[in-house]
Amino acid sequence: MADPMRIRAQASGDKATVRVLMSHEMESGQRKDAAGKLVPAWFIQEVSATLNGKPVMSAEWGPSVSKNPFLQFTVKGAKAGDKLAVTWKDTKGESRTDEATVS
């Protein structure tokens, strides 16, 4: 089971700024271990966000995104009290969803 994300969503005016910190190794598949063997690729491939269950963002990620990635985006029309959920899915098929309330 992957570690939880840290999600902060703060409304100001008619939009909310969302900051997400994900816990993931993000192995590019280019690195070699101490024995010289290639470390297999393992990274987040799909990221999506919903506001009160309605999709507001989806992204395709690749191996060049850093370990423990940080993502920030703004959602138009989000108000305090709204539920914002973020989901990622990695190349091993593992996935994780976390939710935060817009403040």
Binding site: D3, S66, F70
Partner: protein
Amino acid sequence: MNQSVGHNTKKIALALSLFVLSSVALAQKSSTDSIAEYRAMLQDGNPADLFEAKGEDLWKKARGPKNVSLEKCDLGKGAGVVKGAWVELPRFFSDTNRVQDLESRLVTCMQDLQGLNAEEINKTPFGKGEQANLTALATWISAESKGMKFNLPQGHIEERKMYEAGKRLFFMRSGPHDFACATCHSQDDKRIRLQDLPNLTKNPGAGNGFGAWPAYRVSNGQMWSAQLRLNDCYRQQRFPYPLFGSDATIALGVFMGVNGKGGEATAPAIKR
């Protein structure tokens, strides 16, 4: 009439010269400022947050052969008191009869309360198994003292002895490069490449340097504890690696922490 025109011209000239001055100041933004800016940008979204969350869970979770949490662990301010504990460490503990830093104290608690094997933990490489848990715990505990001022106790004779031992170690030149901690860290305004080297013999350097670890290192994506940081200093000096939680590393911690008295705790920080 003439007079007032003259006055106005003077004003414009003054405004112009001020403008020129400020643009010169802007152009002179040093690499240090740029690094500070870069760190400020990264601080909002410091992955240390993830380790903090993990550490808090580990503190509260019943674990080990005895299946108990660490919530009764005495970090120096009484059993279970976390807030403010880190800015008073290392300190003397009468139950173990030695001066301990945060990490070695946590190992004591993990053994006494949870029944984990302290020797095994001390031998585990950094970032693996229980050592990874220990770093997460240290990250959370240090974060609970964020913004507080360092105030290491020096009341006990053992604490003062550790300070003296730390001072000697700090200035001891040895190894193939005839290096000491003091070679890099005992003067003001020194740098290595673009990194400022804090003067660890006094404030603000001592508070800034000592108060920033545990820190997340962006370049390798690792959370580094204070013990690992000191271990790496010795690697860079080409010294033999000190043992985990050894008196030598704790003495250096006392030396830096006491020198940093009144400095602000910024850990968990983010580093290049």
